[in-house]
């Protein structure tokens, strides 16, 4: 591979973007060792917050709930959203469909939150983690569909038809022909919806049931605002990020060995 100036410049830029993305994360990690409970002021080194975290099942349970909500809503919305994107790209452009799919991204969180809670109450539906999952899927489907569509634009339909003409079933055609083409888009879309869901507060708060069983991580943190968001939160964020980081490194190592 030649090292031409454009590639060098691109890679340098990417490096700087990572610095930009991770500088606040470094601050967050440092603050997890803050002695006092102040959210934005450093007063000294201590590891007591990690100890407190171990004795705080509420925060750990909330983090677990968030993970459940994010995984479940990502699975639902990646599946439904990808089908939707394929369906939309196959036919003639339809502005009404476009509007329907764009709407969940545009509608402000608080409006959707109150709309959904009013709706669930009207249906007498029981609230809990499942209602948060259903609610998060509403906006996630829209985001997934939009990302996957960027991938399907100008997708050559004739190869799909050729495959079917040659006797392959719809499912086989999807697996062998369509999926390999759209896979990077689907993966990007799933990452996006996981990220949106795991950090969403207001819709989750309104559509969660009462009780600790459906309290998500962001709900737990916002509830701490009034009496101090302590470095316990930074501690758990540090653990989550550190753990994910290790997983990425490990998968790279495995990848290289397999290659």
């Amino acid at each position: 591979m030649r090292t031409d100036p454009i590639r060098l410049w691109l890679n340098a830029h990417l490096g700087l973007v990572y610095v930009f993305l991770y500088v606040p994360i470094l601050v967050l990690i440092v603050l997890s060792f803050n002695k006092s409970g102040l959210p934005t002021t450093w007063t000294g080194f201590s590891t007591e917050w990690y100890g407190k975290l171990a004795g705080n099942p509420k925060i750990l349970a909330a983090a677990g709930n968030s993970l459940i909500v994010a995984v479940a809503s990502t699975l639902i919305s990646t599946f439904i959203g990808t089908l939707l994107a394929m369906g939309m790209e196959e036919g003639k452009p339809n502005p009404y469909l476009d509007a329907l799919v764009a709407a969940p991204m545009i509608i402000p969180d608080i409006v959707l939150a109150i709309a959904l809670l009013s709706f669930y109450t009207l249906l007498n539906m029981s609230l809990g983690l499942q209602s948060i999952v259903l609610s998060h899927a509403v906006f996630n489907i829209a985001f997934v569909c939009t990302v996957v569509r960027t991938r399907l634009k100008n997708f050559d339909r004739s190869i799909v038809e050729a495959s079917i003409d040659l006797g392959a079933s719809e499912v086989t055609t999807f697996r062998r022909v369509t999926l390999p083409v759209i896979a990077p888009g689907v993966i990007a879309a799933a990452l996006l919806s996981f990220t949106l869901s795991i950090d969403e507060f207001i819709i989750a708060y309104f559509t969660a049931g009462a009780g600790q069983g459906s309290t998500t991580f962001p709900m737990q943190i916002y509830a701490m605002i009034r009496f101090g968001v302590t470095p316990e939160i930074n501690a758990i964020a540090t653990i989550v990020i550190g753990f994910s980081f290790l997983l990425v490194l490990l998968s790279q190592r495995l990848n290289r060995e397999a290659a």
């Binding site: 959210p39 509420k58 995984v71 109150i114 109450t121 609230l127 309104f206 009462a210 916002y222 009034r226």
Partner: protein, 348 residues
């Protein structure tokens, strides 16, 4: 193999999501701010009464109020909200009438706390903590100790850019209204208009509006004088003894955080038993020590360690002094005017 694992994990997620909703019969659910109660309190309550209790958390009065309005309060038994919100919830018929026979410990409260203007006789709300709003400042960084709202609203040059104010509508407006000698519950358009002018002018000297981390800004020295709730100023005092709290001479508001029982509750007796438990002198004193707020329980306050009051003088403020401040009331239709005015001030 990997697909199988993934499928199993997904299934487990969905199962636990749907399984989490079944509540044990008779269990009460309490919604409160996180950290506004000793963490072991619920366990102690269950141990003593046999009533299972679960804690839910909310971030703001506004959010729990919105959720209860839209959802009817299903699933909640006890709500902790500030007094104007309790008043509005009662007017919306979302919280229940309390049975004094089931809360005999009401007798431990100060007489003043039994006769609050928004709910004399504690028919639908029981005070949990109370206090006022004023100026929290770094005595080592200000040239002169502040005494008046005007020290914040029309500050000396040295303080400019070193001040934060609360932005929650009732408290931002209260500062302007009180500085001009008006009521904190005024819905007179001329009075609100004058307060708006004063507050708009004051905005020029602000570092920021801050409802959540103002005490942290005092500790770091980013701000020298902040508009603060008394109990919240204590979080700053805990870090730096030079931080002090003063109620401006024009007077201020008096807020009460209350416990209420939802109308939707299926175990109102359990909910009232919980309220009664909190009002026990030893329990309420435990609360005060834990959250560093004044509690309206005479028997509990009498047992507090004088050293605690020496460290946080505003905890020692007497009910008589507190009652000199003006109690916040729900504004009904006037709330619209306040929100509109605050939006205009902050957008200027």
């Amino acid at each position: 193999m990997r697909a199988g694992l993934l499928r199993a994990a997904a299934l487990a997620c969905v199962m636990s999501a749907f399984g989490g909703t079944a509540f044990a019969e008779g269990k009460i659910v309490i919604s409160n701010w996180d950290g506004y109660m000793p963490p072991e309190l619920l366990e102690a309550f269950t141990k003593e009464t046999g009533i299972a209790a679960e804690m839910s958390v909310h971030a703001t009065n506004e959010e729990i109020m919105g959720k209860v309005t839209a959802g009817g309060g299903q699933g909640y038994d006890v709500l902790f909200v500030s007094s104007p919100f309790a008043e509005a919830l009662k007017k919306l018929d979302l919280i229940a009438e309390l049975d004094p026979a089931k809360i005999p410990n009401l007798a431990n409260l100060y007489p003043e706390a039994r006769n609050l203007s928004y709910d004399p006789g504690n028919h639908f709300s029981v005070p949990y903590a109370w206090g006022t709003t004023g100026l929290c400042y770094r005595s080592d960084l200000v040239a002169a100790e502040p005494t008046s709202w005007m020290d914040m609203l029309k500050p000396a040059d040295a303080l400019k850019g070193k001040i934060t104010m609360l932005k929650t509508d009732r408290w931002l407006m209260a500062a302007g209204l009180k500085a001009l000698g008006y009521s904190v519950n005024s819905v007179d358009e001329a009075e609100v208009g004058k307060a708006k002018e004063l507050l708009t002018e004051a905005k020029k000297s602000l570092l920021a509006y801050d409802d959540t981390t103002f005490y942290s800004k005092l500790v770091s020295g980013e701000a020298s004088l902040v508009h603060a709730w008394d109990g919240w100023c204590n979080y700053g005092i805990a870090e730096n003894a030079a931080i002090k709290f003063v109620v401006p001479k024009e007077g201020s508001d008096m807020w009460v955080d209350t416990m209420t029982v939802t109308k939707a509750s299926e175990n109102k007796d359990g909910a009232m038993a919980f309220i009664n438990y909190v009002l026990r002198p030893d329990v309420h004193a435990w609360v005060a020590n834990n959250i560093l707020y004044k509690v309206p329980n005479q028997k509990a306050m009498e047992t507090l360690d004088p050293a605690l009051i020496a460290q946080y003088p505003n905890i020692g403020m007497s009910p008589a002094d507190l009652m000199k401040q003006e109690q916040l009331r729900d504004l009904g239709d006037g709330q619209k005017l306040y929100t509109q005015t605050v939006t205009e001030i902050t957008f200027q």
